[in-house]
Symmetry: D3
Subunit: 235 residues, 6 copies
């Protein structure tokens, strides 16, 4: 199971890299759970990250605007991201989500076949009117994505497991694998969640707070030793 860590600046990125993270994820929480960061930040982090590690970038808690999303996706790709994450926030149904993701996939694959496109839903989608999280594997499959993912939309302390049960998450993972895709899970995850995620077959676990001092995603800072611990749990 790979560990994806979300640093907020280059120094934290270095800590994450030194700690052994597999994927360095560039986000901008000011703009939302999967808020997009700026081209110059993605570039900067791509530069300090060894070529063998993936750099992930979110394009936003995206509204149902496939055109804007496609342009943002190639903007992220051309800034150095290998892994493009789309927050399916404004898309209210399977139909809207597939429409948007198909266009994002086309836009990204036109740039580079090897870039990875991630369809990300929200475990608490019902709180913000976003598409049903349990339909995300099907959305990912039918639109040509590489990864189906879940995160949480509203960061109020509730974790992924507060919204969806282990059994449901296991079915999510299994359905995703049944389609030949990878599965990523995140959502205020803590150290103790990692063994459960490994057990249900999750491919990529995403964290920030769990890798921060005091487990505090806002006040704390990512530290390499905390990252190392998590990497160990992922093996």
């Amino acid at each position: 199971m790979l560990l994806l860590v979300s640093p907020k600046d280059v120094n934290e990125a270095i800590e994450a890299i030194e700690g052994g993270a597999d994927i360095i994820d560039v986000k901008n929480p000011v703009e939302g759970s999967l808020g997009a960061n700026f081209p110059w930040v993605i570039k900067e982090i791509r530069e300090v990250t060894p070529k063998n590690l993936l750099v992930s970038a979110t394009i936003g808690d995206i509204p149902y605007k496939p055109g804007t999303a496609s342009l943002a996706a190639i903007g992220a790709a051309l800034s150095g991201a290998d892994y493009i994450k789309v927050g399916l926030y404004g898309t209210k149904s399977y139909n809207q989500a597939v429409d948007l993701m198909k266009k994002v996939v086309k836009a990204v694959k036109d740039i580079d076949e090897n870039k990875i496109v991630v369809a990300a839903g929200y475990a608490d989608a019902y709180r913000v009117g976003a598409v049903e999280p349990l339909i995300i594997p099907k959305v990912a499959k039918d639109s040509g994505c590489d990864v189906a993912m879940l995160d949480t939309a509203i960061k109020d302390g509730k974790t992924l497991f507060d919204h969806l049960s282990r059994e449901i998450l296991k079915e999510f993972v299994e359905e995703t694998h049944g389609y030949g895709l990878k599965c990523a899970l995140a959502g205020s995850l803590k150290k103790e969640h990692i063994p459960i995620l490994k057990e249900i077959g999750c491919d990529i676990v995403g964290v920030r707070g769990a890798a921060c001092t005091k487990g505090d995603r806002n006040e704390g800072r990512i530290e390499r030793d905390l990252v190392k611990e998590l990497v160990e749990l992922c093996k």
Copy 2:
């Protein structure tokens, strides 16, 4: 005064070019008044357009997400657009609009200093909660844009002149020029509006319907002779 025409496909683009349009504007009305089109469409239209003509692309009726907007802006720039138009739709105030435009300008100028960034407001912004149109010149100036523009948000037959008087538009143009910027105006404009816009000093007039058969932006198609007429009126 330059004429900007908004074709919906390559064939219409060719008609616009043959008709003598100065700027070919790639839009996607399905996604809104200034809805973004796809990278492959912008590329295609850039390819058929002579190098001496500018290709304009909108990045959307954009929400207040500077990160997403910046990525979309460079996506459009790297797809071949010379002129990046940002619809200040979700930004509710001067502060939000300047914040977003500053970041878009930085992102675009980092790619290419010569690309033109346009801050576009809506004459009928009050209908959709967008930033006050009359503050757009100041927004453009304070964020480093090249052009201040107005269009209409809701296409219900009402034109730019139904929302703002000639005198107010004249002041808008003068304020923009006072800041050393260019001014573009659009919004279901008809042939008879062009002399007025020329008279008040507008630099770029944007049309679609007026260049279409039967003046119908949806059912009609852009025709070179209609474009020629408009180009003549602009001189």
Copy 3:
């Protein structure tokens, strides 16, 4: 494939019965697409309907109130309905829909094991904030329902097929059958849709307008000959 017809009064019910309908469905469109009718109406229609035919009753475009829904479900069951249809309107997610349906199933089966419980979603759920229609088979399975169904929420002339493609509906039917459940489909269906539904394996097709004079669900009235035609197409 069974034909379910929705009469609005006893006379229309008699026409439907004489026309050979398999299921007589008691609804009250004034209260919504799957609006509930009154106990005395359900009773009356149960009395005129031969015992070998099923009487179906909707309990409403139901809000996320499992208690109210359970009470309404047994109210319908005790008024003579064999087939209890729940419109999953106010439930915004898989979790909410399963929670509500589990309780409705328990309430109904406590009354009579043989009564059929139907989890009904809306093909256009995104228009009213209801749960994703494509997750309904899973909702039905995980809550112990007998039938997974789709109808349309907003009656504006658009049919089931205007919202979901034949391929998607086929997958819906197949997933439902994979879970050992029956599948019912409705939504302003017309005569020409019936062969398609039969082809994709639908078990129950629901109509009103198609069985009415002039195909008009509001101004027309159900007529036995129109019902006979539809019955023939269903065989």
Copy 4:
């Protein structure tokens, strides 16, 4: 003056009965102020309650859906409730409230003439868009109900008396009696409110918190001695 107590489970119901409560009220606050509980819970509580005591059941903070409400009302009646309480939450006017209550009364009286139907409004209706509380006596009279009642919609610590003055409540009671109906009042009531309610002629006072340990409706539990105290105050 009768004391109505709202237990949350059978054990609390027994405490209430042993404490001398006159009416045992089955509610489900998870679904709202007058949220409906499940058939099996109403049945269970009816079984442990002596035949000479009334069992009351709410059918919900009901939307303006007379069909759904009528079915839920007979569901509650057939589960053993003697006293059916309808929370007039979604009904926005006298007209809507009377329409819904008339149908609920017909449905319940068709089952059993002796069952009591209660039209319940909210003292703080303006906070949730529900029908004006002071028109409830007229609603009850014009629809054939037996009791006019007020509770509070939002449980934020404010009591009935924080929303309506003693004088207004007195007029409410008098108007209700003038129509030959009974009057019930509730809304986070405390011990000290009971003498006032008795003084203004209220027939039934509804409590939960005041009968719980520490006066805490959520964390506390109903205790027979506390119930006894309240019963004494009601005499």
Copy 5:
């Protein structure tokens, strides 16, 4: 029964006066059903109106702002209105309506004891979230008003009688009289409604369209002969 006519300018006011109207009502429908007109218009119409006729002025479809309402009320009184009409639009409950009306009454009576204050509700209040119309007599009584009135909020062709039945309106009139107050009714009324209003004891009937050419309140103009006809029906 007195006839109140609502002219839109001085010329129409003269027609109304010549036609024998009892009360000349100055309104501004652009601002709403009971939208306020400007001081200079009220003054102008007061000047052309004989001293023995009352001039009525509305202060608006007023929000729940007693301060603003009180200032507007004395503004209207000091501009020459004898009859101050308050549209209880933003007040959502009896409590809010009484609070606002008490302060308006105090403000107006401080200016001149003889000025008449009218509490006006809307027969279709439920459509705009305004206070229940049937509680208006009580509101008027408890706040010291002189007249209880009903009009309609949304002008879509529906009349007062489309929202409230004759019987309910009769009870409204009777309750108002029981409190010693006068009753005024309006709401897209037509000639044929006047006998009914007279029959139920209404004191003042308000019209505009019925006194206009072609019965058209917007395109038509008030004509003295039409006014005379209505005056006759009122006797």
Copy 6:
């Protein structure tokens, strides 16, 4: 620079007067940031205030109802206010704000040419959908007002300076002066803000909390010594 102080009653008004305030401002915060007080309160405060001091009165966080606003404005003027402040809350654009202010100016100047009309915007207008604050100078100029003002709409501890920078406020003042108008600024201002406001050329600073005991606008009371301190800082 003049000091405007907002007392909540006559005693506080006397403290403000004794403390040397230049303008006594009568407000009613219960009705909003610029909520209107009652005619009798404005009169009372006018009576205790020496003739050489101005009495200011707000007419409310006013909706886009020019008629109601004009009547309220003359109501305030005729109650003794010299300085009429209009909170441009419901006006969503330059056009709406100018329309409303033109009519208020006409209404007030018709009463007395020397009364001062203030167009007040909100630094945090975007939070309540009100017109852009930075367009207020232009609104004031184009509608014939005497003063352009900013306050804050939502009182949550944030001050004027939390919403707009010193530089932007300086431009606001300069633009206002460029139009020959005066400029007033307020918004939970503290003592330390006064030198900054003086420095940028503000003409009138408005306070309440800073003149209260404990700096608490709600729990504290205006005290003459605190007022004196502020007056000194203003010189």
